[in-house]
Symmetry: C2
Subunit: 165 residues, 2 copies
Amino acid sequence: MPFAEAAAHGELVFNCTNGAASLEALSAAGAGNLGGKVLVDVANVLDFSQGRPPAVGVSNDDSLGEQIQRAFPEARVVKTLNTVNANVMVDPNVVPGEHDIFISGNDDEAKAQVAGLLQSFGWPADRILDLGDISAARGQEMYVALWLGLMGTAGGSAFNIHVVR
Amino acid sequence: MPFAEAAAHGELVFNCTNGAASLEALSAAGAGNLGGKVLVDVANVLDFSQGRPPAVGVSNDDSLGEQIQRAFPEARVVKTLNTVNANVMVDPNVVPGEHDIFISGNDDEAKAQVAGLLQSFGWPADRILDLGDISAARGQEMYVALWLGLMGTAGGSAFNIHVVR
């Protein structure tokens, strides 16, 4: 579904808040305003309390995506885009060649809507990799630890990974 | 340095044990037998206590690679190969096209030796990405959570990632 159309119907909510504050921010938005809507979660919980590089604040047996889905069970949470920098999210062509974006969530229809939105951003359909239900957000979010290391060696944040089979 | 030559000199030790038992296994090998040697750590700590998929047993503020380096300060620990399946480790050509392997450690000479070994396995020099000191093992090991998700969607373990810039 085109972004403009979906947005006009009020069906899409983006969580682009600091991951450490996302639950509070979404609570302030109001559970009643989120019910039934597709909630696209692009956030990462980065814990700088022990310095840099930050730790992934929620990991292994949980993820921010799952926390949001549990806190707002009527929302249709889709985790995506958190594995790339903001400029790559909305324009994958800033990174040359083939590279991939991940998607996870419990609602197949919601994932299909978000996949359509990603395609409108320029992500090819065959490079949108569905990892399964929202528990797959653990892998998407924990990857950010490697992303931080790659950012150091890459000398910038305009990069991404391509899954080769 | 060719593998056969290095092995003949007793300079290389591979830790291919179950990551949850690696410290115990290396202790059984004896700290005195590890001192000064390049210790190639390819292990992952996978915690199946909460079922599948397993959690990464050491993460965020530590890694198995760092634990091994701390426990055996005289060893020259190099973390590598833990991000691919065993058959890909020793023959990267089982995955078609360009894809990358990561390396980290505190000893640049040790990393150079291991990079040479990886090249003898078929890894191109420009696809061996040095992430820095051994603390970068956190990212290498936490990536395995995403690897597990990708294995599910890929329908097998013969895959890898390519960093695109």
